[in-house]
């Protein structure tokens, strides 16, 4: 995937409305929410003076000071755990884990602690913790900095999983995440930070659990999230030239999952392609396919197509890397299989 991608946000840009970068949209969400709510603070590696590896937290230290923008040691388990403890006691921490791969160091705190506290305490404690992280392959970062690991978190009751694909959604979903009381794994995509899209200047939030039709269509439903949405839209454009009218449904959040909108689209088009960047085995796509076949079996005119990553670690070599994860051509081929199957 190219690092420059054309606008792909849900609202079309009215004349004169600004467009900003995905990373700027997240920065704005943090800044505006921190101004609104003094219990929000940030912690992570190099997020202060440096402004984060992807410049998401640029200049926030200047405005909010070192107690609300905390540079931590490289010790994910403890600073994520500190986020849990701060959240239980009334704060709204935003913990930045530089790469989702590094979240593996903090899995006890995320899975055994954050996800369980509200349940285990019989509702006494809440963990309004947002773990901001980013995943996905691109630019040759190899096996330990390129994974798509959303399924690990999707699997755990008690976590919400948010996967924005546009600047508009990133800002609105982050705001919504900071205004609710459960732990959220907020997964950005490293290839999206430099993408641009329309974002209104006023305050808004995008409710968690609302999928978004990024392109309406009648012939086939392409379900995607995060970095796969722009590739699905590109595939849909090519399909349109061939007379196939594809609908692209961006899930936006995997937990909660907008089952209704998925089923509604499937009942309209009768054909489904699910695109996930993560490896095929044990992925979210399989679960969505199982929901569709159970709830909309009679509507399906062809087998559900899943386009997913290969079941391997991500290689360093760029040609091998792109062979590992779904490309626009793979989505195109799958959509045609779905449409032309009898």
């Amino acid at each position: 995937m190219a690092t420059t991608v054309k606008d792909s946000s849900s609202p079309s840009t009215p004349p004169g409305q600004r467009t900003i970068l995905y990373r700027e949209a997240i920065n704005e969400a943090l800044r505006e929410e921190m101004r609104r709510d003094s219990s929000i603070f940030l912690m992570g590696e190099g997020i202060g003076e440096r402004g984060g590896s992807y410049k998401v937290t640029l200049d926030l230290l200047k405005e909010f000071g070192p107690k609300r923008v905390i540079d931590t040691p490289i010790a994910e388990a403890s600073f994520t755990g500190a986020g849990v403890g701060a959240a239980i006691t009334g704060m709204r921490p935003v913990v930045e884990i530089l790469f989702i791969d590094f979240a593996m160091l903090a899995m006890d705190q995320i899975i055994n602690q954050a996800a369980k506290v509200n349940f285990m305490t019989g509702g006494q404690g809440h963990v309004p913790l947002v773990v901001r992280t980013q995943g996905g392959a691109g630019n040759g970062l190899a096996a330990q900095h390129s994974q798509s690991l959303e399924a690990l978190f999707y699997h755990i009751p008690g976590l919400k999983v948010v996967t924005p694909s546009t600047p508009y959604d990133a800002k609105g979903l982050l705001k919504a995440s900071l205004r609710q009381n459960d732990p959220v794994i907020f997964i950005e995509h490293k290839l999206l930070y430099m993408t641009r899209g329309p974002v209104p200047t006023g305050d808004y939030a995008v409710e968690l659990g609302q999928a978004d039709v990024k392109r309406p269509g009648n012939d086939v439903t392409i379900i995607a999230w995060s970095g796969m949405v722009s590739r699905s839209l590109a595939a849909a454009e090519t399909l349109a030239q061939e007379g196939i009218d594809a609908e692209v449904l961006d899930l936006r959040t995997l937990v909660p999952l907008d089952r209704e909108k998925v089923l509604e689209s499937v009942r309209k088009t009768d054909r489904v392609v699910i695109v996930q960047e993560a490896v095929r085995r044990g992925g979210v796509a399989s679960d969505i396919a199982s929901i569709i076949q159970a709830e909309a079996f009679d509507y399906l005119d062809s087998p559900i197509e899943i386009v997913a990553g290969k079941n391997t670690p991500i290689p360093y070599n760029l040609a091998l890397e792109s062979a590992c994860v779904p490309q626009t051509t793979d989505i195109l081929a799958a959509a045609k299989r779905a449409v032309y199957a009898t």
Partner: protein, 319 residues
């Protein structure tokens, strides 16, 4: 220097913990308690001494061996027994049980089934207080077993780097499940680890409730003056196996006998009788009161309804 009432209060807390654990073991044998139960026998002075030195606004984070911490922090016995017997009236509505008992009303952020995991959680509680500029400390109970886990080191370092109001109570009961301390580390004087992170660290007799109380009070003062965090290694001995079904046969008899001769309740009683002139009768009165409270708590729990499966399933559907 301490009033009789204060010392009697410490003794009362310790005696309550002892009776509570004794009754819980009995309830376990009767089948009223399931799962794991890790008694606090022999370590009562630590919970009692630490919590007596904390203030109402302070936080504690507990461990899997956490009944004593919950009681010392002022947990309600009825709701505790109800929780451990899995009742709806339990402090966690029967969802947590012994290993996850929590009581946020008393600032007890909860026990934990994962050894060491409470350390960073406590660091976060201290961090929140530090950000808000509040006069609060977070005291985390942890253990010799946890001291060999990564989050112990990470958490201590993070707290030290920000000079957080954080007190790490290292209950060195000398066993990590069944592995003796000498076998799991080349430096069994665990407080030295704190020194390596630039943390005020000391080792004390964890069976002497007054020593625990005084050291914790000092630690609270240090934290409020901005010279936290503080690590207190309280040396004690687990009087029994790891959990209720572990007879602890690997524990040398003579060592167990030695520590029984230094039983924390016995030491507390001696202090009360010898130093402040309390009489046996007054202590017997306290014990009788606690026994009665405990009877009531058990009676309350066993007559409380279990949680509704239907209500739970409805809730689970929305999860």
């Amino acid at each position: 220097m301490h009033s009789t009432e204060f010392l009697a209060g410490l003794y009362r807390t310790m005696y309550t913990i002892r009776v509570f654990e004794t009754r819980c073991v009995k309830l376990y044998r009767q089948g009223a308690i399931r799962g794991y139960l890790h008694p606090y026998f022999g370590q009562e002075a630590i919970a009692a001494g630490v919590c007596a030195a904390l203030r109402p606004q302070d936080y504690i984070v507990s461990t899997h061996r956490g009944h004593g911490h919950c009681i010392a922090r002022g947990g309600d016995l009825k709701r505790m027994v109800a929780e451990i017997t899995g009742r709806q009236a339990g402090c966690c509505k029967g969802r947590g049980g012994s290993m996850h008992i929590a009581d946020l009303e008393t600032g007890n952020l909860g026990a934990n089934g994962i050894v060491g995991a409470g350390v960073p959680i406590g660091v976060g509680a201290a961090m929140g207080a530090w950000i808000r500029g509040e006069d609060r400390v977070a005291a985390v109970f942890t253990s010799d077993g946890a001291a060999n886990n990564g989050v112990f080191a990470e958490g201590l370092n993070l707290a030290a780097s920000l000079r957080l109001p954080f007190i790490l109570i290292l209950e060195n009961n000398q066993y990590a499940v069944s592995t003796p301390i000498e076998q799991s580390t080349a430096e069994p004087e665990l407080f030295r680890r704190g020194l390596g992170y630039g943390v005020l660290s000391e080792r004390i007799d964890g069976n002497d409730v007054l020593a625990v109380y005084r050291k914790t009070a000092e630690a609270v003062r240090a934290c409020t003056q901005g010279s936290g965090p503080v690590l207190i290694e309280a040396v004690t001995y687990r009087q029994g196996g790891h959990h209720v079904n572990d007879p602890g046969q690997y524990m040398p008899k003579e060592r167990l006998e030695y520590y029984r001769s230094r039983d924390p309740l016995r030491i507390a009683k001696e202090i009360l009788l010898a130093r402040v002139g309390a009489n046996e009768e007054a202590l017997a009165r306290i014990e009788a009161e606690v026994d009665r409270e405990m009877d009531e708590a058990v009676d309350f729990a066993l007559h409380s309804p279990e949680p509704s499966v239907e209500a739970f399933l409805a809730e689970a559907a929305a999860y």
